[in-house]
């Protein structure tokens, strides 16, 4: 029984490449994560705290951008080719974006890691958000730009496949997976515009010294214009797997194809005009704009809440077909021994929890309580760090056999791995949320301050720290098991049927969906209009207030122990 790699060997090769890059960055990023968890909780330290921020930047960029986006590019290439049953228009184009994205990611990674070596006059300890006027080496911004352009070419590649398919199937409904890929890419094109303008027109010239100053608030706003949609760019491939693969793994069928399409359309429309909810506590932005961003954000909950129902219902259908009974007993009838299923199910469960802390983050004035506290990383380690990352790892157990033709090396190890991830994340992210409510800040290398202590209502801050460290170690262990399983699978021999890769028809088929849902041009247009409405006035006022280029001269992130020593010394008088 032939699988993907037998039918599309050339495309499979390219997907193998994107997966390889994704897994390498996952390994490095996870290692950094473990080191940070142990360092900032003061459990085990071997480096100076100034290097913490270099690792933190690496952790954020390698996991949140490189791992996620390379993996999803592979998933999307698979989804397009498989669901349209159409080969890539020109495989050289495919390799072009794989190459460009890889080169860009490498540049950024080099610029960041150079920060660990004082002898190299290069650093980019600006964290994943690179807020100017903190200034990274130009190579960092150039790498980012190349990476983004690479994703644009990838999108073009997929739209070309779609055009070919459309030519042969003028009256067909767009296959669901292709529909999801195309809508997600439309959202991506609209939203990456912000970061592209910020990086190409402001940050690169500024880091090269061509212009002297930037408008910090403007570049920051442009970053968040992209910074929220990017989380949906991570999430959509996870949703794609939940909608089209998870039901099948559960032994069932997708509950409703039309609703799945409606959900993705909603994401195209609402993902971008919400970015200002990351700037609730920014000066220079009127409260009205923040309120608009909040209402958009709240309504953006809708597609996710609908997804919860449709996906769980599809899984329940599987359980019922497997003999499940009762209101809740059916949960027992699910194939919990399948790491692909269990991983995605646990990821979905944790997303329900992360969804709640996200609702808190979305609330405008309650943001005073959690803004920039440890609560925030607690939140996104549940969402991108589990709903997305764990779904990707679980999906790998089902996808890797299809693109390599090799059976997964060990199912038990896979099962153990996804469960260890879940447990580790429960410990770490739960403690982070609690710590945040006590006022413990995010993005800091030290657990303690000279002038004050954090007071815990229940338990103690020390215990929270232990939970974070322990959870971090479990998560790293899980990644090690995962990478071992992947490597062992890859090293194995091809088999006839490495996996059961058939995807059953939805219970409620596409034919039931209004044709307008497939009108991509219309949705793109409305999305653009919404973005213009939400952003024109804020951007105009920011520019008219502080000027297009503002007045912030660069502040290269210099890592000197003296600076730290002086500051610490300066802070001490407060104590005695």
């Amino acid at each position: 029984m032939a699988t993907f790699v037998d039918r599309y060997p050339a495309e499979a090769k390219a997907i193998q490449a994107t997966f390889a890059v994704a897994f390498v960055s996952l390994g490095i990023g996870a290692l950094f994560g473990a080191i940070q968890a142990l360092h900032r909780t003061n459990v085990f330290r071997f480096m100076d705290s100034v290097d913490y921020y270099t690792l933190l930047t690496g952790h954020g960029v390698l996991l949140a951008l490189v791992f996620t986006i390379f993996f999803l590019a592979g998933v999307f290439q698979w989804g397009i080719t498989e669901s349209l049953d159409t080969p890539a228009p020109d495989i050289r184009l495919t390799w072009a974006w794989v190459g460009l994205m890889t080169a860009g990611a490498t540049f950024a990674a080099v610029a960041i890691l150079a920060g660990l070596f004082p002898e190299i006059p290069m650093s980019a300890d600006v964290l994943y958000t690179f807020y100017a006027p903190l200034q990274a080496h130009p190579l960092f911004y150039v790498g980012l730009a190349m990476f983004i352009v690479g994703t644009w070419i990838a999108g073009a590649d997929w739209f070309l496949s779609y055009r070919t398919w459309r030519r042969d199937n003028p009256d067909e409904r767009i296959p669901l997976q292709a529909f999801m890929v195309l809508t997600t890419m439309i959202m991506w094109y609209v939203s990456t515009l912000g970061v592209a303008v910020s990086v190409v027109f402001f940050l690169i010239p500024w880091s090269l010294g061509l212009v002297d100053t930037v408008n910090s608030l403007l570049t920051r706003t442009l970053f968040w214009y992209f910074g929220h949609p990017v989380v949906y760019f991570w999430l959509m491939p996870a949703y794609l797997l939940w909608y089209t693969v998870l039901p099948k793994l559960a032994g069932g069928r997708l509950f409703s194809d039309p609703l799945a399409r409606a959900v993705f359309v909603l994401f195209v429309l609402l993902s971008t005009p919400v970015g200002i909810h990351h700037q609730y506590l920014d000066p220079g932005i009127a409260e009205g704009f923040k309120f608009i961003a909040m209402t958009n954000t709240m309504f953006l909950l809708l597609p996710s809440l609908l997804t919860a129902f449709t996906v769980v219902a599809s899984v329940e259908h599987g359980a019922r077909q497997r003999g499940g009974e009762g209101y809740l007993r059916w949960l027992g009838a699910l194939p919990w021994r399948d790491p692909a299923f269990t991983g995605m199910a646990l990821a979905g469960l944790m997303f329900a929890a992360g969804g709640f802390s996200g609702m808190i983050n979305a609330g405008m004035n309650i943001n005073y309580l959690v803004h920039n506290t440890l609560w925030v990383p607690g939140h996104f380690h549940m969402t991108v760090g589990t709903a997305v990352a764990l779904t990707f790892m679980a999906g790998t157990y089902w996808l890797l056999p299809q693109i390599t033709g090799k059976a997964v090396y060990s199912r038990p190890i896979g099962l153990l791995q996804v469960i260890v991830w879940f447990v580790g994340m429960v410990f770490m992210s739960n403690a982070m949320h609690r710590g945040g409510l006590l006022g413990i800040p995010r993005r800091t290398a030290e657990p303690q301050y000279a002038n004050f202590d954090f007071a815990a209502a229940v338990g103690s801050v020390g215990e929270l720290r232990m939970q974070i460290a322990f959870g971090g170690v479990l998560l790293f262990l899980s990644v090690v098991l995962f990478l071992f399983n992947v490597a062992a699978t890859w090293a194995d021999d091809r088999v006839g049927t490495p996996v059961d890769d058939a995807i059953p028809e939805p219970l409620s088929p596409a034919s039931g969906a209004p044709l307008v849902l497939d009108n991509l041009a219309l949705w793109t247009l409305i999305a653009v209009v919404l973005v213009v409405l939400a952003y024109t006035l804020p951007i105009l006022s920011i520019v008219s207030d502080a000027g297009l280029l503002g007045s912030s001269t660069g502040s290269p992130v210099a890592i000197t122990l003296e600076a730290v020593a002086e500051t610490v010394a300066a802070a001490l008088p407060g104590v005695w």
Binding site: L328, L331, G332, R337, L346, P412, V426, N430, V458, G459
Partner: protein
């Protein structure tokens, strides 16, 4: 005694963790200050019960009674 597969055993074991971790918060809401050991003991207890169920399931044959999640 119904059967627990090794997988189900692992998954259920995973679910006991958030329960145990949040035990004190729940108690805290009622003004009860539980010591850290209480959490450890509670978790150990849960795991013990689970293990017993699992082992019993291994020993005695399945009477085909339906699962409870």
């Amino acid at each position: 005694m119904r059967q627990l597969s090794p997988a189900a055993f692992l998954v259920l074991a995973a679910f006991t963790v958030p329960l145990a971790v949040e035990l004190r918060t729940a108690a805290g809401l009622f003004g009860v200050e539980l010591p850290f050991v209480a959490v450890v003991v509670f978790e150990a207890g849960l795991l013990l019960v689970l293990t017993t169920v699992y082992l019993l399931g291994r020993l005695s044959p399945d009477d085909g009674e339906a699962a409870t999640a």
